[in-house]
């Protein structure tokens, strides 16, 4: 079974959407990535940090999904990273109301010894310096390194981000971030420019408009599943990334053809994640539900045209 190391936040989220609001609930990039990847046969472990206020029941829930959490440092006297946000009708725009870094402020990631030989490495959205720290602790290059990042680091830590980007295989960013990173408006041109920075694969996440996978001159597109209701989009991008790398790790096949399947699975899992607040839908999601929805994706995208 492949090893998958996941670095990212484990956090409290408080969310307000047109459908309702929550108090502090379980959130964080690594949490969503791990839950998505747990749909596949992988040996996964999270590297993160939480405070003494973090309920052990959350870690136990992750463990029950075969996600190891011994790489999650618990700073007893500290408080867990907290994000509070509000979504509006279109669910594409959100306001951040509160960001309390807390223990994340001086996070020194430590890769557990038994994952220093990880086959797959998922660098969730974090300060590029933290991402680099993790890369440095892994002596032999993993089979595949996937990086998620965002405009904030492009604005504030460009040089550090460039150093990390050199070291990875796949980058996942949204369309605006791809434009910012590349200085190109056309996403086709943006991907080509980003190849030059290091990654051989560029995944551009477009939320409700799906995701594009670029490699050399090849492009593959996975739509988002049109839903009656998007209840809470928090974590959808991380769920997508977790489904992507989880599927690749479980199949141990990083060909472009298999990456197509992997982003379909990523989109599939993300379509569940948004159905309930926070991680709730992902916690009780069955393999049967995922396979059934795969049929919806096929019906949504597959066609037969005989060309004479």
């Amino acid at each position: 079974m492949s090893k998958l190391l996941i670095v990212g936040t484990v956090a409290f989220d408080a969310i307000e959407t047109p459908f309702g609001k929550t108090d502090k609930i379980l959130g964080g990039a690594a949490t969503f990535i791990g839950l998505a990847a747990s749909q596949f046969e992988v040996d996964s472990s999270i590297v993160s940090v939480v405070g003494g206020d973090f309920p052990l029941s959350y870690l136990k829930m992750l463990n029950s999904k075969n996600i190891k959490t011994d790489g999650v440092e618990i700073v007893e006297e500290g408080k867990t990273f907290f994000w509070k946000g509000k979504y509006y009708n279109d669910m594409n725009t959100r306001d951040t109301l509160i960001t309390e870094l807390n223990v994340l402020g001086d996070f020194n990631p430590v890769v557990p010894d038994n994952f220093k030989d990880t086959d797959f490495l998922m660098l969730g959205n974090l300060h590029p310096t933290v991402q680099m720290e993790v890369i440095k602790q892994i002596p032999e290059r993993p089979k595949l390194v996937v990086l998620d990042t965002m405009n904030f680091w492009m604005d504030n830590s460009w040089d550090e981000l460039m150093e990390v980007i050199k070291k990875i295989d796949v980058i996942t960013i949204n369309d605006e971030e791809a434009r910012q990173l590349s200085g190109q408006y056309s996403l086709v041109k943006a991907a080509k420019r980003i190849y030059e920075m290091g990654p051989k694969y560029v995944i551009i996440k477009k939320g409700e408009h799906g995701a594009l996978l670029f490699h050399d001159d090849k492009i593959f597109f996975a739509p988002a599943l049109p839903l009656e209701e998007v209840f809470d989009p928090t974590g959808a991008g991380d769920t997508f990334a977790g489904g992507f790398i989880g599927y690749l790790a479980s199949t141990q096949d990083i060909s472009f053809e298999n990456m197509k399947r992997a982003i379909i699975y990523g989109s599939n899992l993300a379509s569940f994640s948004v159905e309930k607040f926070g991680t709730r839908r992902m916690e009780d999601l069955s393999k049967k539900e995922v396979l059934d929805r795969l049929q919806d994706f096929k019906q949504l995208t597959q066609f037969e045209i005989d060309v004479k």
Copy 2:
């Protein structure tokens, strides 16, 4: 061979994009629809109106593509409908700089006798009263009626639009218009609400984000082909609609499975239309180019997942 009647504007456009600008060139919804449909084996005819300033060479070009223009009234003392617009970097937002209705202002459409038994009817974006006038002149209901409309008519001619919408099979609108028409934010819910107004098929055009086809509980998605450059998006939606109905008319098959192929062809042709100013790319487009690009669409969307 199926008959296809196309009602819509035949116009002058003046276009400014980040790549350049044009003087008055050939434009109009019916023009783009007709050129797209001419990629298929159909007997098509345009109903429209132009002024005495309209070059006969434009009509001859259309005729050379087997598009009949005897339904295009020429008002010798009048001037042709003129639109001038400017696009910005993202090509999704445009400003209308000039709209001169001219002869379109009191257009009374007359369906040529030999197309009163048309099999397929494409009602391009026009005043709903004009669209209804055409419907009334066709004694026996065509096999399929496709309507294109826009927010302007929803704002200004709601009741007339509702009367037309009752009479048609397929409506093509963009996502914002679908929301306005239905009062529903979710496009899935919007489509269901629109079914109740009359159409059994709803096509939601999302520009660079592709198009969705809704019918009963079925959904199909055709992406837009990611391009290095979108040179001029004018007419892309009409080209899409013309490809859709042209393919259906040539195959004489209005099953949902065939509609999937039809919107892939629509998206295919639209991806060419935007490569040059106005109708230029569509005028010299060969069937071979269209078939080659069909392979790009397959590579972009088709995947194999064996579900055990």
